[in-house]
């Protein structure tokens, strides 16, 4: 398949120009591939490998090494809650419990409607704004139950409307367009 080669042709061209060696472009291209394919599927890895002329096994190894690539399918919105020490001192563990209870899923679980996956992650550089999470890499900070409910309501409405805002990955990779 050539999903990203078509959808993100300009981004890829610009990213490749940033380095003397194509292989350096592998992480940004994997971010784009995950965006297009939904997760790091075999097809996604193969396409990245083909574009960069590297082995798919290498892409597989990177996919396992870095925590932001999902090797299994995930929901439309991945909620990555930080429950590392500094956040946990300000109620992050209890926040995770509340979220799991509300959405009816365990950590790493995805809601039946395929909308939300809940994960716990290490420090996200927002310890002064705990409890916090990233939703598809977007920071959501100073959360409590009420703000979490609002966030979920907003995301559900967005999913229903079918309107797609550009994601964080898309917005950032767009800067590579020449």
């Amino acid at each position: 398949m050539a999903l990203i080669a078509e959808k993100y042709a300009e981004e890829i061209e610009g990213i490749l120009k940033r380095f003397p060696d194509k292989k350096s472009a592998v992480l940004p291209l994997m971010h784009l591939a995950q965006q297009a394919y939904g997760h790091m599927s075999r097809e996604a890895m193969q396409e990245v490998a083909d574009i960069l002329e590297i082995s798919p096994t290498h892409v597989l190894a990177l996919s396992g090494f870095y925590s932001l690539y999902y090797e299994e399918p995930v929901g439309k919105y991945v909620l990555e809650i930080c429950n590392d020490l500094a956040c946990a001192l300000r109620g992050a563990d209890e926040f995770v419990e509340m979220v799991c209870h509300k959405l009816g899923v365990p950590v790493d679980g995805t809601t039946a409607d395929g909308l939300f996956t809940v994960k716990t992650v290490m420090c996200l550089g927002a310890c002064d704004r705990a409890p916090m999470l990233q939703c598809n890499l977007k920071f959501e900070e100073h959360l409590d139950e009420e703000k979490f409910d609002q966030l979920i309501a907003r995301l559900r409405a967005e999913a229903e409307s079918g309107k797609e805002e550009p994601s964080v990955v898309e917005k950032i990779m767009a800067y590579a367009k020449s």
Partner: protein, 428 residues
Amino acid sequence: MAHILLRHRDIENIHELDVYLAHGGYEGLKKALSIQPDEVIEVVKKSGLRGRGGAGFPTGIKWGFIPKGPGEKYVIINTDESETGTFKDRELVEKNPHQVIEGALIAAYAIGARTIYNYFRGEYMDAAYRFEEALKACYERGLLGQNILGSDFSCDFYCHYGAGAYICGEETALINSLMGNLGQPWSKPPFPAIEGLYGKPTVVNNTETLANVPPILVNGPEWYTSMGTEKSPGVKIVCMSGHVERPGNYEVEMGVTYRQLIEMAGGMRNGRKFKALLPSGGSGPVITEEALDAPMTYEGLTPYGSVMGSSSVIVMDETTDMVWAALKMVHFFRHESCGKCTPCREGTFWMEKVLSRIYHGYGTERDLQILESVANQIGGRCLCALGDFAVNPVLSTIRHFFDEYKAKVSGAGQKQQATRETAVATAD
């Protein structure tokens, strides 16, 4: 006092190029371009500026290691910032990006590099729009690209985004990651200054380190050394988190005490009693009351067996279960170990297992010995500092809070845990 690094707190919209220029922006670069590269290195050496990424290596000396003469060279900004409790570089790239760009350009001119990369941790994409915008503005206005400000100096600047791996903050792992390899460290030598990115001489500097450089060029090294202490001159951003009233970044002169830092952050939350703090996120040994009057400098905590590191201060009050805190940190290091060396990979795994057993009330006296013994077999036997970091939370909490460990293995643990949970529930 006006901020030197967190200038956006005094000057609105300083992330916009025009505003930055109107407030003396890129004057440091102009100053640098008006003197020889070697002289720039000399100024930075004289300022006594030391690396703000944790290790504290003198910045000017690092730049001086780069071989002179023609050939490709690189400057890499380290914005991987993944240490637990650290969020200072994020504020800089998000709110005052031009000062970081200017610092990196001065570094590039000083060492003869024509390309700069800023390596952001992947999770910081949402904090990087302004940095990307700032680069665009610089290209449009002749501050990047060919013949910068009409000089002979030409330089390109690109952002790169990682994908979630604390180890990529270690400079050789970062370089591997940037080359598309697994983000694992290599054994030094070769040092990046000789063989770095694509095998070429490379300077890797922390984001905050570089933000210090433009004001040093403008105001001179004596101005910089007039702040802070003799061995640790200048200013530093401190990340205050945990049980304080006002967590956040605070810019201070080096040499303030940890007690003053807690006061700055509004004191202990809910008026509770102080118990312990981590001066360097999860990676430095914990300190207690006795060390609170020590100055925050590169040497200040040596008598107390700890380090300033990245000055990410995580404060804990009397309700904190220290075995629980140690477990959180060990979990972090187990998760982030890159797996290249056995003591770190296996050791962090076993430390987490044993510690978890102890915390949950299933541990025995023997487990305490095992825990210490495993820790002692990791320290000093690893390729990079992560292995040593991982040992710190365990050994330092055992040293200062052995009673809490004892209580857990003697069956009183369940009760302790219940106390903590009730405390957290009431605090929030």
